[in-house]
């Protein structure tokens, strides 16, 4: 017993040791269960699968409620690699029309990060109807494969491709930056599909599904408590008139160029034609889109993917004289009675810029005759006016005034990739000519819309819109309402004023524009019973034949449409651009064409292939 008494204290050491170990374990549990949350994340990764429910993308309607863009079902083939068992590879390859090497490549891709053998990944995108039918029938034979449906875009009318844009797969960079997108998701890539992406796409829904170690579905997590429903995309109500758009595209057939029409009283874009174009249905569907896109991109002759209406920058030519006339009057250096000499050219510079033979004219007739000499004088009188002792200040003033009409600025309309055009800066000329190397006469051709001056067709239409409104514009837009409530951003309902706002100043210019159509450079384009006011122009083209330009609005009282048309390589504005505009205006205001012969001729002309050209008169 004495021995035992001696050793009995060891019970404390033993018991203490047991307690110590238990405490260490509890502390360890405390750490991994309460402090470190990595295990919780890992457990979720293990057993939770987030199934995405894709919302229906919003439809797009024209201004009269006609459907421009809708959706169609498309089917993707998905694979979960570790569920694939005894797969009849040969049969699968036959159905998909791929070889075994490709099959193995795709399986490998599906296994590797960011994919995983236990997770689904896309094996073949947008199956053709034939492939889908063949697969559907035999799918039970291919364990681990699954067909899932998705919606793709469909265009009931093959028009307005540039304007509508297209939907494509989100880029890796975008997917990495924006948490909404995952690789493989669709996103609006151009046109209004891009600018209204957020409204159109809706909100993806997520279902949290639990799976076991073999990736077999075991039900909803918490009975779907944390699931979210997909919210369908909003419908867009466009201001585009599908009929006008279609008609404009027909008229532009065989020609390079564009037509932009705006409703001056709202800034709503009625049509935005850019030719050459393509059928928007070509850029739908995975494989098909890739193939067609490459094809369209390779056409460097016609550049069909290029949206000329918003991106092609042309020297404005004579239509720019309208802006000079407005600024000159406003600055008090030009009166309706002002007459300047013209000897087939601008006399102070030895007859440059050149002009054609015409009677001496006052302001109104200078527009009708499009006198180059007259506007050289006007330009210099603005730049060199006494209010600005230094001519560079005068030039800066002119530039600011011009830019208040839009050229050289971004208007901020709702079509992506806007190009501003260019009004050269003082700095630019200082660099080109040296600080003391230029005067107003050096740059006098700016006054007639030439030299470095460039402008985009939609800006041309906006300038006419300002004239029609006598001094203000609304930011042009193609979408006039988003969603069922047809909401419109307030930036499109705010008036923007140009430098000139005096009613009479505009009336004086409009008098000249009316004469242009009645008895001037566009007299062949007169529309019966409609007073159209316009201006022809010729955009100089150093690479070939000049581009024809015509801008107009109608009717004179309470204008309904302001329109600009550029026909590339067609020379003088009165030959093609003006008749096309007159047809568009007539179609819009009357709903019918009273001059079928002109219509027929315009549609048949194929400048691109040099067919059915109209002999040009020089004057």
């Amino acid at each position: 017993m004495s021995k035992n008494a001696q050793l009995a204290d060891r019970k404390f050491i033993i018991g203490g040791f047991f307690i110590l170990v238990a405490l260490i374990y509890i502390f360890r549990l405390f750490y991994i269960q309460l402090v470190d949350d990595q295990y919780l994340k890992d457990a979720r990764n293990n057993a939770f699968r987030h199934r995405t429910e894709y919302p229906v993308r919003g439809y797009i309607f024209d201004r009269k409620g006609k459907l421009l863009v809708m959706n169609a079902q498309s089917y993707d083939l998905w694979v979960t690699p570790n569920q694939v068992k005894d797969c009849d590879t040969i049969a699968m390859c036959e159905i998909l029309e791929i070889d075994k090497k490709e099959f193995l490549k795709r399986m490998k891709k599906a296994r590797q990060a960011p994919n995983s053998p236990r997770k689904e990944s896309i094996f073949e995108k947008q199956l053709s109807p034939a492939v889908y039918a063949a697969l559907q029938e035999k799918l039970y034979r291919f364990k681990g494969f699954d067909v899932q449906s998705r919606t793709v875009r469909k265009y009931p009318r093959p028009i307005a491709a540039h304007l509508l844009g297209y939907v494509g797969e989100v880029s890796k960079e975008k997917a990495a930056k924006d948490p909404y997108y995952r690789e493989g998701d669709y996103i609006g890539v151009s046109g209004i599909e891009k600018s209204y992406e957020e409204a159109l796409r809706g909100v993806k829904g997520v279902q949290i599904v639990m799976v076991d170690v073999n990736n077999k579905t075991k039900g909803r997590y918490m009975n779907g408590m944390y699931d979210t429903l997909a919210v369908p995309g909003k419908a867009l109500f466009s201001s585009i008139d599908a009929e006008m758009q279609e008609y404009g595209e027909k008229l532009m057939h065989g020609k390079k160029g564009s037509i932009v029409a705006i409703e001056p009283s709202t800034g709503e874009i009625l049509c935005l034609v850019s030719n050459p174009s393509y059928d928007p249905n070509l850029l739908v569907g995975g494989k098909l889109r890739a193939k067609n896109y490459a094809m369209l991109q390779m056409d460097t002759l016609n550049v069909p993917l290029f949206n000329r209406a918003t991106q092609a920058m042309y020297p404005p030519g004579s239509i720019f004289k309208l802006i000079d006339a407005l600024i000159g009057q406003k600055d008090g250096v030009l009166k309706t009675s002002t007459v300047y000499p013209c000897h087939s050219g601008y006399p102070p510079m030895g007859g440059k810029p050149k002009c054609h033979a015409h009677p001496a004219c006052d302001l109104t007739h200078s527009i009708q005759q499009s006198c180059n000499s007259y506007y050289s004088y006007v330009f210099r009188s603005i730049v060199d006016q006494p209010a600005f002792p230094k001519f560079k200040d005068g030039y800066q003033h002119w530039r600011d005034a011009v830019m208040s009409f839009g050229p050289g600025t971004k208007l901020g309309y709702d079509i992506p990739y806007e190009k501003p055009g260019n009004v050269p800066s003082v700095k630019y000329y200082d660099k080109v000519f040296g600080t003391n190397g230029w005067r107003s006469n050096t740059i006098v051709s700016l006054g007639i819309g030439q030299a470095e001056l460039t402008i985009v067709p939609i800006q041309m239409a906006n300038v006419v819109s300002i004239i029609a409104n006598h001094g203000y514009y609304y930011v042009p837009h193609v979408i006039k309402g988003v969603g069922t409530e047809k909401k419109l951003d307030t930036m499109y309902t705010r008036k923007h004023y140009a430098y000139v706002t005096d009613h009479q100043i505009y009336e004086n210019v409009i008098d000249g524009m009316q004469l242009v159509v009645e008895s001037g450079t566009a007299r062949t384009s007169k529309i019966p019973d409609i007073v159209m006011c316009g201006k022809t122009g010729t955009a100089q083209n150093p690479h070939g034949k000049d581009h024809a330009v015509f801008v107009a609005f109608a009717p004179r009282e309470n204008p309904k449409i302001a329109i600009a048309c550029v026909v590339e390589n067609s020379g003088f504005g009165g030959t093609y651009a003006a008749p096309i505009v007159s047809l568009m205006v007539e179609k819009y205001l009357k709903g019918k064409i009273t001059r079928p012969d002109i219509e027929k001729r315009m549609m048949e002309v194929d400048i691109i292939n040099n067919k059915n050209l109209i002999p040009t008169k020089h004057h």
């Binding site: 021995k3 035992n4 050793l7 009995a8 060891r10 019970k11 050491i13 033993i14 018991g15 047991f18 307690i19 170990v21 238990a22 260490i24 374990y25 509890i26 360890r28 549990l29 405390f30 991994i32 269960q33 309460l34 470190d36 990595q38 295990y39 919780l40 890992d42 457990a43 979720r44 293990n46 057993a47 939770f48 639990m210 799976v211 076991d212 170690v213 073999n214 075991k218």
Partner: protein, 435 residues
């Protein structure tokens, strides 16, 4: 003597029985959760493990009752007999038993199987208690030794005791290749310590283990240099007598030997043993899809439980089979995931309370035999608890041993029940012993 003496529960420690019952019930609930699936919801479905476990539990209750009925002296008298008999069974099973999943430790009866090695625990405990309680036996005689023959004579009893627990260890490891079942017999060292084994042995073991781990984690050269520096520094505190210098030198040499030996042994281990050590120590690159999978998934299951757990039958890790062997050796994962920190702490504390209760009971025994047997019970339970829970939370290497009263399996439940209830019977009998 009172009349109550012959009642079944006379003197039985109710606290122990209560904890035992709690653990068995909680264990069954967790086995149900671990193998739960919608297709088989009836708890009596014997095609499912929870159904079978119910039968095992029934058997355990019968066994416990039987043990309480039998006279306590029976265990003392037949201690060596049990030991010998089960040792023979352990030797025989690889030759007579059927191979199940590559394991040669089972006797099978239809759907049910018995592992003799499980029952070897209580038999060894009985034998050890019987040997050490012999009046003339002392573990490690403390009298001064002068001659080598004295040394052997004095240590003879210790060596004999070690042999009692070493024999089943070696047989089960070598013949059945069941590391988990074999290594448990090491637990009896705690009993030996209580009965007088010098603490130096335990310290030596602990330090060796520490050195073992260090030499696997650190570079051998660095480690040996560090040890030499520590040895030199030790002379700041120890007088530099010739004797002390020799002792420190011998310790240093031995430690260096362990370091080099460890690396040698490690290099000659079998690959799966190497990876187990690698997984535990985080050595090299551990592939979480292969060798690290079990431990990682176990940690994920427990770690994702949070404070209150995910709720009964709501564990995704365990219910959806991410954790392997979640009903047997990894049953603690189900606890951790579904009952959280609260539940897993309660389980650990319950097991600990049971073990401490057993120690308390052991200390109140009048008979050496009962006390020694009690310590054996505490040691074995503790060893299982420490290794089983330790491996699921990444503090111990993966050794397949069950969590007492908790894990699925008839052999382990029965063997723990026998182990514990013999002690409860001995304890109930303590007042009748006149010593």
């Amino acid at each position: 003597m009172r009349r109550d003496e012959h009642k079944l529960f006379y003197g039985v420690d109710r606290i122990t029985i209560l904890i035992y019952a709690l653990l068995v019930i909680m264990g069954w609930l967790n086995i149900y959760a671990a193998v739960y699936n919608e297709a088989h919801q009836s708890i009596f479905d014997t095609s499912q493990k929870y159904g079978k476990q119910l039968i095992w539990i029934g058997g355990a209750i019968a066994l416990a009752t039987f043990i309480l009925i039998i006279d306590a002296n029976f265990y003392t008298v037949f201690a060596y007999f049990f030991y010998g008999f089960l040792l023979l069974a352990c030797i025989a099973v690889p030759f007579l038993g059927r191979e199940v999943k590559g394991s040669r430790s089972w006797f099978r009866f239809g759907d049910f199987g018995i592992q003799p090695a499980e029952f070897m625990k209580f038999a060894t405990n009985l034998a050890l208690a019987k040997f050490l309680s012999n009046e003339n036996i002392e573990v490690e005689n403390s009298s001064r030794r002068t001659r080598l023959s004295d040394l052997i004579k004095n240590y003879k009893n210790t060596i004999f005791a070690v042999a009692i627990l070493g024999l089943p260890l070696v047989i089960i490891k070598l013949l059945q290749d069941e590391t988990g079942l074999a290594i448990v017999f090491m637990a009896f060292i705690i009993t030996l310590y209580r009965e007088g084994l010098s603490i130096n042995f335990l310290l030596f073991g602990l330090l060796s283990a520490l050195l073992f781990v260090l030499s696997l984690v650190m570079d051998s050269k660095t480690l040996i240099i560090s040890l030499s520096v520590i040895s030199l520094l030790s002379f700041v505190f120890v007088r530099r007598t010739r004797k002390n210098v020799i002792i420190v030198s011998i310790i240093l040499a031995a430690a260096s030997g362990v370091v080099l030996g460890t690396n040698y042994v490690y290099e000659h281990l079998e690959p799966h043993q190497k990876t187990r050590i690698d997984v535990l120590l985080g050595r090299g690159t551990v592939d979480l899809k292969k060798e690290g999978y079990n431990v990682n998934q176990a940690k994920i299951a427990i770690g994702s439980g949070g404070f209150f757990g995910k709720g009964y039958l709501q564990g995704t890790q365990t219910k959806y089979d991410f954790v392997p062997e979640q009903d047997t050796d990894f049953i603690f994962c189900t606890v951790g995931e579904e009952w959280g920190f609260l539940g897993s702490s309660i389980v650990i504390l319950l097991e600990l309370t049971l073990i401490l209760r057993v120690i308390f009971m052991a200390e109140r025994q009048r008979s050496d035999f009962s006390r020694i047997y009690g310590y054996g019970v505490a040691s074995v339970l503790f060893f299982h608890l420490a290794v089983n829970v330790g491996m699921t939370i990444g503090l111990m290497p993966v050794i397949g041993i069950p969590l007492p009263f908790f894990s699925y399996g008839g052999s382990s439940l029965w063997s723990f029940t026998i182990l514990l209830f013999i002690f409860i019977k001995l304890d109930a009998n303590r007042l009748l012993i006149l010593k």
